[in-house]
Symmetry: C2
Subunit: 730 residues, 2 copies
C-alpha cells in the first residue's frame, strides 16, 4: 500500500518546476542551499511560506508545550492544542519544502510529547456534550487535531528511528484512531460533518500507517458495509447540486476533510475514482460553497458564525486541492480573492498557475441549488443582479431543516446590496471561543431566539415557530421548490410547504423575485406569500432589516417611555415593541438608510393589518443578543392571508460631499389584485412606468393565463411573468 | 487693480510645464488640438479632469435649469442650485485648461439665466431662520453659491460681449454682493464662519469686478474699521495654534473660504501678506484641521456630521492652495490619501509635485491645540500611539463652548483604536439634506440629546448639563489647561473648570493619560477626575462606548422585561436603563468586543458607587437617534467625588481563523490611593508588572513630591508622572 497524503508534483507538468517538493526532501534540501532558490516560488506560495515560517518560529521560540487537557473551547489548553496541530502541520510542510532539520525535529519532538500524554488521557474534564473528546472537550476537535497531525506526521515518519516511529504510531495515532472509530463509534458512523472529520482522520492515518483496516473503516463505516463512512457521506450529505444540507457555514467547515481525505484517496486508491464519484459531487460541492457567498461572506443561515468568509483555512485547502483536480481557472480567481493558499504541493501548483496568468473570473451567478440526497428536499435559490462587490443578491432559503444546526426558517429570504446585508439572517447566537460567553458554546439565546421562526424573514402562525420548534418534526418535512426561472429583468423562485404547522394545517407558498422596472436604478425585490390554514389564525411576517428609519408611511403608536415585550415564547420574548400602527392603503411603506443608500419596504396593507416595529434585546439577561430592528406585518382573524411586499433600493446619501439624491421611494404605488386563482402585483413608479408581475401558481410552462385589471387584459404563460405596461397617466 | 482669483502658473517654476493654464486660454486652446497633450497632465489632475468632465457633461446634457427657489435643504431647487454652482465652477476651470468654447458658452448661458432670475427674488420662501437667503433658504448657502460662481465668472468675463458682461456684473454679482453685505449686514459682520463665506464671496467679487469698495468691505467689515471682516476673522476665529473655536467639523467647512479668498488676496494685494498674517495663522489652521482627524475622519465633537473626512471638497481646495503657498511636502501625502484634487492652477502644481515624488509622510502626532484668540480659553489635547490606520488616539476636549454649535461637554474625551471609535462622541443629531428628517435641519434631538452633557464622556452634576444648558452662560467660561506633557510611555493632559455649575460651585479637574505598561500590547487610557462642590450632589460620569458586552465584573439588576427611562431632562430622558449595580471593590470592570478587539473599562468603585448600564433611544418619537450603549458611574450624597478609570485594549477575536486570544483583561488590579493632596493610581497586570501614575496637581515642574504606598516611597517631580514599579509578588 502506498501512503501519500499529498500529491507528487510531476515535474513534467510544470514548465518552471523548481526542484522543491520532490517527493523526498533531499533534493529540496540541496536546493535550499542555493541562494537564488526562494525566488522561484510563485508569489502567493512564497508569501504563505513566510507566514508559515513566522508562525512556526513563534511556536518554536515558545518551546514545545503539550498541556494536560483542561479548558473548554477558547480556554488555554484548548487553544494550545489547536496551535500545536497548526504548528506541526505547517512545520512539516516547511520541512517538505526546505528540508531543514529543525522543522523535522520540531514535529518529531512534539509528536513524542503527545505520545507521552495521549495514553494517560480519559474523557476531557470540560466535556461539552455526550460526544466528549480526549485532547478537547468534544470529539470533533480531536478529529480535527488528528486530520492535521497525521498530515504532519507523514513527511517525517520514514526518517524516524524505529523506536520513535513505533511510539508515535502506537501511542498517538493508533490510540487516537481507536478513540475516534471505536470508543466514539456513534459519532464515527453518523451521516454528519463530525463523522467526516473522524473518518478523514482515521482513513488518512490508515494510509500513513499502512493499516488497511483503518482505511476500510473510514471509507465504508465501522460495519464495513458502506451504509456509513466517508463514501456514503458524499452521497447523503450533498444534494445532486452539491448543496450540503447543514448550510454554507457548515459546508465550508466540512469541505476541508472532504477535500483533503478525497485527495489522499485519489492518490492511494485511484481506482475508487473519488472525484468522479456521483457525477463529480465533491467538485460540485466546492463550487456550491463558493457560490453561497456575498462579497466573500457565506450566507449566514442556520447556526452560522457571521465572520466566516472564503478567507478560511478550509477553503484555502479546498481551492488548492480542487484546482489540482479540476484545473478550473475560476478557482484561481477565488485564490486571488483569498490572497492566501497552503504550502502543500497543491498550493504550489495552484500558485504557479496563478502566476502564469491562467485565472479567469469566477462567475457568481443566479442559480438553484436543490437540497436532499435526491435533490427533492427543497432548495436554495440565489438571484444576482450586477457584478462585483456592489452587486445585488437575493437568497430564498427553501431548503430542509439541515439537522441539529438548522433553524425553523422555512421559505425565509435575504437581500444583499452594495456590500451590505439589507434583509438579514441572524445566524447563530454564539461567540466562538470567547470564554466569557459560555466558553464559546452556543448560547441559550441560540435556541430561544436565533433558531426561532420569528428571528427569520419567515411566516409565523400563532406566535409559534415552524414545527412548533420541534426538530424531530422538522426533520420529516421540507419545502417543495415549485418553480425557478431566470430571464432578463425577471428572476423568480416559488416554493411552498404544507406541513410546517400540522396542527393548523397551514399551507404556505412564497414567490420571491427580482424584478427590473424601467427607470429604477436597481431591481425590486418582490415577495408574494400566500398562506391558507384552518380556524382563526394570526399570521406574522417579520422583516429583519438593517438601517436607520428615515420615513414611515404610517403613524405608529410609539412606546417612547417604556417598550413592551412582544410575546412570551418562540422568540417573541426577545422583541421590544417600538411602535404599532394600522396603515391605510397608501401608508404601507417605510424607508431606512444604510451605507449611503436608501431602502423602502413597501407592502399592501390588507384591511386589518397591523404593523409592528420592534427591536431585539428583550429577555436577554447576559447581553448575548445583538440589538437589531425588525418590522412585522400582522394579519389576524382568518385562516388565510396574502402578503405582498417589495423592497426598493434607491438614492444616495453622501455625507462627505453633502449630496443627497432620491432619498424618497421612486415607487408611486404597489397594488395587489386577485383574480380567480391568479395574483397580479402592479407597481407604478413616480415617473409613470407600470410593471405587472402575474402569478398563475401553475408550473405548466405551456399553460396560458389571462386576467383583466383596470379594464386591461394581462396575459402570460407559465407560473409567473413580468409584464411591462409602459407609461401610465400618472 | 488686478483681478486674478487663481494663480498664474509660472512656467519656469515647473520643469515639465505644459502650455496649459497659461493665463489666457488661447495657448491652451491651441495646445488642446495636440493629441498628445492630455498625457502631460499629472495623474491626480488628469483623473480630476475626467471626473469634472463627466459631471459637467451630465449637467450639460440636462440643459441649463435655473429654477425659482422654493425648497429647503435637500429639496429639489436647493440641490439644483448647488449642482449649478458646482457645474459652473468646474466648467469654467475646464475652459481655462482646455479652451473649449462649449464650456465658455455653458458658464455664460447659465450666468445669464441667473441674471434673469436674480432681480426677481425676495426672501426665500422656505426660510430656515432669521438669516434667510434668496437662492437658498439661508444666507450661508447664497454665500457659498457666490464663492463658486464668482470663481466661475472670472475666466470668461473678459471675452463676453459688453452687454452680457454688464448684465452678469450688475444683475447677478452686484445684486448678490449687495444682498450679502448690505441686506444681510448682520451676518456679514459676524465673527463666524458664515461671515467668512460672505466676505469671501463679496471680496472676490470685488476683485473680479474691480470694485475696491466691495474688497474693502470684505477685508475690513461694513464699517471699514477692521473690527469685523475677513482679516479680523483670521484673528478671532483661530487660536494661536490654528484651532477654530467651533471645532474640526466647522473648521474644515471654514477652511475653503479662508484659503480661497486668502489666495485671491495674496495675488491681488500681496502687500497685505495674508499668509504671513498673525504668524502664518492660515497655514497653521490648515495643518490643525488635518491633525484633528483619525483615519481621515474629523473628531466629531460639537455639531459634527460624522461622515466628514479629509475627503471633502473644502480640503481638496485647502490642500492645493496650502501646498502652493508653503510647498510643504507633507501636504502631498494628504493629497495622496485624498486621491482627489482641484482642477485649478494650484491643483496642477500640487499634482505635478506629487508625480515628481516629492511627498513626505504627514506626521500625525500628539499635540496640544489651545483655544481662543489668545490661546487661553482651554485647549484640545491629542495623544497618539503608533502610526497608520490602526494606531491608538486619545482626545481630550478641554476647549471652550465654540459658539452656537458647541456642546455642553467640558473636559470630555474620546478614544480611537484599530480604526474604530471606542469611546464615542455622538456628534450632531442631524441627517444632512434628507428631507424626511426635518428637511435635513438639526433635529430636536440635537438640543435634547446631542448637546447635553450626559451625551458626552463628561461629568454631570445633579442630572443637569454644564451651565444648565444655557449657551450664554457657557460662552462666558472655559476650561483651563493645567498641564500637557508627552514623553516615552506617558502622555498626559490635565485641565479643569470651576464654573460649569456656578450654582453648586463645582470645581472639576481631569487628568487624561496614555500610559504604557510593560507586557500589555497597547497603552492604557487613564482617566482621573476630581470634582468638588457644595452640598449633597449627584455626580454621574458616563462613558459612551462601542461594542458588544462580553463580561461584567458586577452582577447588575437587569431590566429584561421593561426598561425604565433614566431621567426626565437634560438628555436623561433619552436613556433606557439596561441594568444597575453597586459593584464591590474588585468588581469594577466590564469587557466588550469591537472589530475583533476586546476592551475592558475598569474603575475604582467608591463605597456607594452605582453603575448604570444604558442605551440611547428613549423619548425618541421619530426614530431620530442612533441607539448606542453607555455606562454611567454614579456617586451620590457628598460634595466631592473622585473617579479613577482605565480603558484597556486587549486580545484578538478572529472569527475567520477561529482564534481568540486574550479575551479577558490582562490587568489584575486597579487601585487609587489619596495621600494628602496627591493621588496615586496603581495598576498591576496579571503578569505581575506594576505601574504607578502619581499626580501632584501642581504644575511647577521643579517641585518634588513623594508619597508612601504599601510601605514603599514613590517620588516624582511636577504635575504627574509614570513610575514603573517592576514585578510584584502577584
Amino acid at each position: 500500500m502506498k501512503r501519500i497524503l499529498t500529491a507528487i508534483i510531476s515535474t513534467t507538468a510544470l514548465a518552471t518546476a523548481a526542484p522543491v517538493l520532490a517527493h523526498g526532501h533531499e533534493a529540496a534540501h540541496e536546493a535550499a542551499a542555493d541562494d537564488a532558490q526562494p525566488m522561484e516560488y510563485p508569489e502567493l506560495f512564497a508569501a504563505e511560506m513566510e507566514l508559515a515560517e513566522e508562525f512556526v518560529h513563534g511556536m518554536m521560540d515558545g518551546g514545545i508545550v503539550v498541556p494536560v487537557p483542561q479548558d473548554p473551547g477558547g480556554g488555554y489548553t484548548h487553544e494550545q492544542h489547536k496551535r500545536n496541530y497548526r504548528a506541526m502541520y505547517l512545520a512539516s510542510n516547511l520541512y517538505r519544502v526546505t528540508g531543514e532539520q529543525r522543522f523535522f525535529d520540531y514535529v518529531r519532538d512534539m509528536l513524542l510529547e503527545y505520545a507521552d500524554l495521549y495514553p494517560t488521557l480519559g474523557d476531557h474534564p470540560a466535556r461539552a456534550n455526550q460526544n466528549v473528546g480526549r485532547l478537547f472537550w468534544q470529539v470533533l476537535n480531536d478529529a480535527m487535531w488528528q486530520v492535521h497531525a497525521i498530515q504532519a506526521y507523514e513527511p517525517i515518519r520514514d526518517e524516524l528511528s524505529a523506536e520513535d516511529r513505533a511510539r508515535i504510531d502506537n501511542d498517538v495515532f493508533r490510540r487516537a484512531s481507536e478513540f475516534l472509530s471505536v470508543d466514539s463509534e456513534r459519532t464515527f458512523n453518523l451521516i454528519h460533518n463530525h463523522a467526516t472529520w473522524a473518518t478523514a482522520a482515521v482513513g488518512m492515518t490508515g494510509y500513513v500507517l499502512e493499516d488497511e483496516d483503518l482505511v476500510r473503516r473510514a471509507l465504508y463505516g465501522s460495519a464495513g458495509d458502506g451504509e456509513t463512512g466517508f463514501i456514503r457521506q458524499t452521497e447523503l450529505l450533498f444534494s445532486p447540486d452539491g448543496y450540503y444540507t447543514e448550510g454554507p457555514y457548515y459546508q465550508r467547515f466540512a469541505m476541508l476533510p472532504f477535500m483533503v481525505f478525497a485527495g489522499a484517496i485519489e492518490r492511494n486508491d485511484p481506482e475508487i475514482g473519488i472525484f468522479e464519484h456521483r457525477d463529480g459531487i465533491l467538485m460540485k460541492a466546492l463550487n456550491a460553497t463558493i457560490q453561497l457567498t456575498y462579497d466573500g461572506y457565506f450566507f449566514p443561515f442556520n447556526d452560522a458564525i457571521r465572520d466566516k468568509s472564503l478567507n478560511t483555512a478550509e477553503l484555502y485547502e479546498g481551492v488548492a486541492i480542487g484546482y489540482s483536480v479540476s484545473q478550473d481557472p475560476a478557482l484561481l480567481d477565488i485564490a486571488r480573492h483569498q490572497g492566501r493558499t497552503v504550502i502543500t504541493p497543491q498550493g504550489l501548483e495552484m500558485s504557479r498557475a496563478l502566476d502564469a496568468g491562467l485565472a479567469e473570473p469566477f462567475n457568481f451567478r443566479s442559480m438553484l441549488l436543490t437540497d436532499g440526497p435526491e435533490g427533492d428536499q427543497g432548495a436554495v435559490a440565489v438571484f444576482r443582479s450586477g457584478q462585483g462587490p456592489m452587486h445585488m443578491a437575493m437568497v430564498a432559503k427553501n431548503a430542509s431543516q439541515g439537522m441539529g444546526h438548522g433553524h425553523f426558517d422555512k421559505l425565509s429570504w435575504q437581500l444583499y446590496d452594495r456590500g451590505n446585508e439589507i434583509v438579514r439572517d441572524y445566524g447563530a447566537a454564539r461567540f466562538l471561543n470567547i470564554e466569557a460567553k459560555d466558553g464559546g458554546r452556543y448560547l441559550p439565546e441560540n435556541e430561544s431566539w436565533a433558531k426561532q421562526s420569528v428571528a427569520h424573514n419567515a411566516l409565523v402562525v400563532n406566535e409559534q415557530s415552524h414545527f412548533y420548534g420541534d426538530r424531530d418534526l422538522a426533520d420529516q418535512s421540507w419545502p417543495t421548490q415549485h418553480y425557478f426561472n431566470i430571464e432578463d429583468g425577471f428572476q423568480v423562485s416559488a416554493a411552498g410547504i404544507d406541513n410546517a404547522y400540522p396542527g393548523e394545517n397551514v399551507a404556505m407558498t412564497r414567490v420571491l423575485a427580482m424584478v427590473e422596472v424601467e427607470g429604477l436604478s436597481s431591481p425590486l425585490a418582490l415577495d408574494v406569500l400566500r398562506a391558507q390554514g384552518e380556524g382563526e389564525l394570526q399570521f406574522d411576517l417579520p422583516l429583519h432589516y438593517s438601517g436607520h428609519i428615515m420615513r414611515l408611511g404610517f403613524d405608529p403608536e410609539r412606546f417612547t417611555a417604556g417598550r413592551p415585550v412582544l410575546g412570551s415564547d418562540h422568540g417573541y420574548q426577545h422583541i421590544w415593541v417600538d411602535g404599532r400602527a394600522t396603515p391605510a392603503a397608501d401608508q404601507g411603506f417605510m424607508t431606512w438608510l444604510l451605507g449611503g443608500r436608501f431602502y423602502t419596504y413597501r407592502f399592501v396593507p390588507s384591511g386589518e393589518m397591523e404593523v409592528i416595529l420592534g427591536e431585539t434585546g428583550a429577555s436577554d439577561p447576559n447581553f448575548n443578543l445583538r440589538r437589531e430592528p425588525l418590522v412585522i406585518q400582522r394579519v389576524r382573524g382568518s385562516g388565510n392571508a396574502t402578503f405582498v411586499s417589495v423592497l426598493e433600493s434607491h438614492g444616495l446619501y453622501d455625507g462627505a460631499t453633502e449630496q443627497t439624491i432620491g432619498s424618497d421611494s421612486q415607487v408611486a404605488s404597489l397594488r395587489h389584485v386577485r383574480s380567480g386563482e391568479h395574483d397580479v402585483v402592479l407597481v407604478e413608479t413616480l415617473a409613470g412606468e407600470n410593471v405587472a408581475v402575474a402569478i398563475s401558481w401553475d408550473d405548466d410552462p405551456e399553460e396560458q393565463h389571462s386576467v383583466t385589471v383596470d379594464g386591461r387584459e394581462i396575459s402570460w404563460s407559465g407560473y409567473a411573468a413580468r409584464i411591462a405596461l409602459g407609461q401610465g397617466d400618472n
